[in-house]
C-alpha cells in the first residue's frame, strides 16, 4: 500500500513539474533547439531584455499588478469589515455569495462579459477604443476583490469583538480606533490578501486578453502572442521568469499565513 502511494505521488509530481523543469532547463539552452541541449547559457534571457516589446509588457504587468492589488486591498478590507459587522445572517451569506462569484465563475465568462460591458458602456457615451489600461485595471481589481475579502474576514472573526470599543473607551474616536486597535490585528490577513491579489494579477491571461486593447499588453498576453509565431527559447525564458516570480510570491503568502497562525495558537496559551 505504502509503495503504491509513493508511486502515485511520484507520478503526480512528474506530471506537474516535469514540463516546468524541462521548460526551465531549455530556457538556459545555448542553441535554438527544442530537442538538443547544447550547454548552459543566458543567451535567451539577454535576447529577451533586448526586446522592447517584452520589456514594455513587463512594465505594464508590474504597474497593473501593483495598482490593482493595492486598490483591491483597500476596497476588499473595507468590504470585509462591513460584511463582518452584518448582523442578519442571511444578508451576510447573500453578500458573501455575490462577492465570491468572480472567483468561481469561469474566467472566460468573466472576461467576455466584462469586455461586453466596457464596449457597451463606451457605446453609450459614444467613445471608441475604450479597451486598454483602465478597462484591464477595473477587471483585475474586480477579480482580486474576493481573494482579499476572504483572507481578511477570518482575521476579523478571530479578534475580540470589543477591541474597537476598548479603544474608544480609552478616548479614541471611532475611525482612529479602527486604525489603532483593529487594523494592526488583521494586518497579516490584509498582507496575505494583497500578495495574493498581486500574484493573481501578475499571471492572469484569460480576463486580461478580453479586457485589454492592442496598446496595452501584459506579459502573459505577450507570451501568447509570441507563441503564435515560431516558438523560440526566449519564450521559455520569459515563462521561467514568470514562474519564478509567482513561486516566490506563493512562498511569501505561505510564510505570512504560517506566521499569523503561529501567533494565533500562541494566544490560546
Amino acid at each position: 500500500m505504502k509503495t503504491t502511494i509513493r508511486i502515485y505521488t511520484a507520478l503526480v509530481f512528474i506530471f506537474l513539474y516535469l514540463p516546468i523543469a524541462v521548460m526551465v532547463l531549455y530556457s538556459f539552452n545555448s542553441i535554438n533547439s527544442t530537442g538538443v541541449f547544447g550547454g548552459f547559457s543566458l543567451r535567451w534571457y539577454r535576447e529577451l531584455f533586448r526586446d522592447t516589446e517584452t520589456l514594455t509588457a513587463l512594465r505594464n504587468t508590474l504597474i497593473l499588478a501593483v495598482i490593482s492589488s493595492l486598490v483591491a486591498t483597500v476596497i476588499g478590507t473595507a468590504a470585509a469589515v462591513g460584511i463582518d459587522k452584518m448582523r442578519k445572517r442571511w444578508v451576510k451569506s447573500v453578500t458573501l455569495a455575490v462577492t465570491n462569484i468572480p472567483m468561481v465563475n469561469p474566467e472566460i465568462v468573466t472576461g467576455v462579459s466584462m469586455m461586453l460591458l466596457f464596449v457597451f458602456g463606451a457605446r453609450l457615451v459614444n467613445a471608441s477604443g475604450v479597451l486598454g489600461f483602465w478597462t484591464i485595471l477595473i477587471a483585475h481589481i474586480t477579480f482580486n476583490l474576493p481573494y482579499v475579502i476572504l483572507s481578511v474576514l477570518p482575521k476579523l472573526r478571530q479578534i475580540d469583538p470589543h477591541l474597537q470599543e476598548a479603544a474608544q473607551d480609552l478616548g479614541c474616536p471611532p475611525l482612529k480606533s479602527f486604525f489603532l486597535a483593529v487594523f494592526p490585528t488583521i494586518l497579516p490577513g490584509v498582507l496575505t490578501g494583497a500578495v495574493m491579489a498581486f500574484t493573481l494579477s501578475l499571471d492572469d491571461f484569460v480576463i486580461s486578453y478580453f479586457t485589454s486593447g492592442p496598446e496595452f499588453q501584459t506579459l502573459p498576453i505577450r507570451i501568447f502572442a509570441m507563441t503564435k509565431k515560431r516558438v523560440t527559447p526566449d519564450i521559455y525564458a520569459l515563462s521561467t521568469m514568470l514562474f519564478a516570480a509567482i513561486l516566490i510570491l506563493l512562498i511569501a503568502i505561505n510564510v505570512l499565513q504560517a506566521r499569523s497562525e503561529k501567533q494565533q495558537s500562541k494566544k490560546k496559551y
Binding site: D160, H162, A166, Y269
Partner: protein, 385 residues
C-alpha cells in the same frame, strides 16, 4: 429629576428595544460616588445592555442618562469619564503590556516620562511588577484580567465599568480576584459598576446589589437586604436557596401556611391577603414530629461538606433544609421555623414560577452546566446595536 444631582450616574426611564422587543423597560437607577454597585441577573436580563448604555456603546431608545446631573445620552464613549473592563478583556494583541496600559494616556498626549511612572504604579496596583515588556498573548487569563484593569484605571476614571470580568477565570482565581478588586476599589476610592450573573460574587463584593430580570429591576438593596428581605419570588429564588410557599396573611405578624398559623415579623398587608412566603433552608430546624410545626418524610439527602441538604416532603411540597444533623431517607421528621426566619412577599408575576424542590436533581444539572461554561457570552450580547 430629583436626586440626579447628588448621584454620579442616574438612569431615568431607560428603555431599549431590539427588533421591536424591549430588552430594557423603564430602568431607574441612581449610582452614588465611591459605591461598589453590582447589576445581577440571569443571561438576557439586560444587565450588560445597562452597562453598555452607561459606557456609551448603546443609546437608549427612551429615557435619559445623567452624569453628575448632566444629560449624556448623545455623548460618545470616547468623551465619557468612565472606563470599561470588557468581558474578554479586549487587550490589544499587537501591543505589549506597557503599550496596552499606556494607550489611554498617549491619546491624551501625556508626556512619556509621566506615562512611564503611571504605568509602573498601575502594574504595582494589580500585582504585575516587571511585566512591562511581556506580550499580552503570553499572559494567563488572570494576568490579562489585571492588565485590562490597569489599562482602564490609569485614566483616573470616576467610574469603572466591569462586564463579568471574572467569568473566564477558574473558581480559585475568581475568589482571589474578588478580594483584590474590592481592595482596588477602596484604594482608588472610585465607583465600580459591576455586572455578573454570579449571586455569590455579587453578595460578597457589593455595597449595593441591583437584581434584574427580563429588562426590569427587581430589587435594589444592600446584599443583606437582598438576601434577607427579597421583594419577590424571583429575587428570593435567584439569590441563594429558598422555599417559596403560598400563604395568607390573616393579620399583622400572623401568616397561614398549609392551614397552620405561623408567627412572623411582617406587617402592613391587607387582611387575608394572599402572599408568597420565603423560608431559607438554613433557617429551618429538623426536630421530632411531636416538636415540629409541620411534619413530613425525608426523600433525599445530599452531603455538601459544610452541611447536609435534606429534602423533606410535607403534604406534597418538597422543602429544602440545610442542617449539620444527619437524617436518613424515609425518616419521618418535624420542622421548626422561628418567626424571624419567615419572610413575607407581595404576590408578583413570579408567584408560582418557582416550585418546590421536587425537580431538585434536574435543577442541579442545569446549575452545573452554567458553571461549566461561564465564559459563554450572555444571550443579550447578540441583541446589541
Amino acid at each position: 429629576m430629583t436626586g440626579t444631582e447628588s448621584c454620579i450616574i442616574s438612569l431615568r426611564g431607560v428603555t431599549k428595544y431590539y427588533n421591536g422587543e424591549a430588552v430594557l423597560r423603564g430602568i431607574n437607577l441612581d449610582i452614588h460616588d465611591k459605591e461598589f454597585i453590582t447589576l445581577l441577573g440571569p443571561s438576557g436580563c439586560g444587565k450588560t445592555t445597562t452597562l453598555r448604555i452607561i459606557g456609551g456603546f448603546v443609546t437608549p431608545d427612551e429615557g435619559d442618562v445623567y452624569f453628575n446631573g448632566r444629560r449624556v445620552n448623545d455623548v460618545p464613549p470616547y468623551k465619557r469619564p468612565v472606563n470599561t473592563v470588557f468581558q474578554k478583556y479586549a487587550l490589544f494583541p499587537h501591543l505589549n503590556v506597557y503599550d496596552n496600559i499606556a494607550f489611554g494616556p498617549r491619546l491624551r498626549k501625556v508626556p512619556e516620562s509621566e506615562i512611564s511612572r503611571r504605568v509602573k504604579e498601575m502594574l504595582e496596583l494589580v500585582n504585575l511588577r516587571g511585566f512591562e515588556r511581556r506580550s499580552v498573548n503570553s499572559l494567563s487569563g488572570g494576568q490579562q484580567q489585571r492588565v485590562a484593569i490597569a489599562r482602564a484605571l490609569i485614566n483616573d476614571p470616576k467610574v469603572l465599568l466591569l462586564d463579568e470580568p471574572l467569568g473566564a477565570l477558574d473558581l480559585k482565581l475568581r475568589k482571589d480576584m474578588q478580594v483584590e478588586l474590592k481592595n482596588i476599589q477602596q484604594q482608588m476610592s472610585i465607583t465600580f459598576i459591576y455586572v455578573t450573573h454570579d449571586q455569590e460574587e455579587a453578595l460578597s463584593m457589593s455595597d449595593t446589589v441591583v437584581v434584574m430580570d427580563t429588562g426590569e429591576i427587581q430589587q435594589i438593596g444592600t446584599p443583606e437586604e437582598i438576601y434577607n428581605e427579597p421583594d419577590n419570588a424571583f429575587v428570593a429564588d435567584f439569590i441563594g436557596e429558598s422555599n417559596i410557599l403560598d400563604g395568607t396573611m390573616v393579620s399583622d405578624f400572623d401568616v397561614v401556611i398549609f392551614g397552620r398559623h405561623f408567627e412572623c415579623l411582617d406587617k402592613g398587608f391587607e387582611k387575608n391577603e394572599a402572599v408568597d412566603v420565603v423560608v431559607r433552608p438554613e433557617d429551618i430546624d429538623i426536630v421530632s414530629v411531636e416538636e415540629g410545626m409541620l411534619s413530613g418524610v425525608v426523600t433525599n439527602v445530599t452531603f455538601k461538606g459544610l452541611h447536609y441538604e435534606i429534602i423533606i416532603d410535607i403534604e406534597g411540597f418538597k422543602w429544602m433544609v440545610q442542617t449539620t444533623d444527619f437524617w436518613p431517607v424515609a425518616a419521618v421528621v418535624g420542622i421548626k421555623i422561628d418567626p424571624d426566619a419567615i419572610h413575607i412577599m407581595k404576590k408578583s408575576k413570579y408567584s408560582g414560577a418557582f416550585g418546590d424542590y421536587s425537580s431538585f436533581s434536574e435543577e442541579l444539572d442545569k446549575l452545573s452546566e452554567l458553571e461549566a461554561q461561564p465564559e459563554q457570552p450572555p444571550v443579550e450580547e447578540e441583541i446589541i446595536d
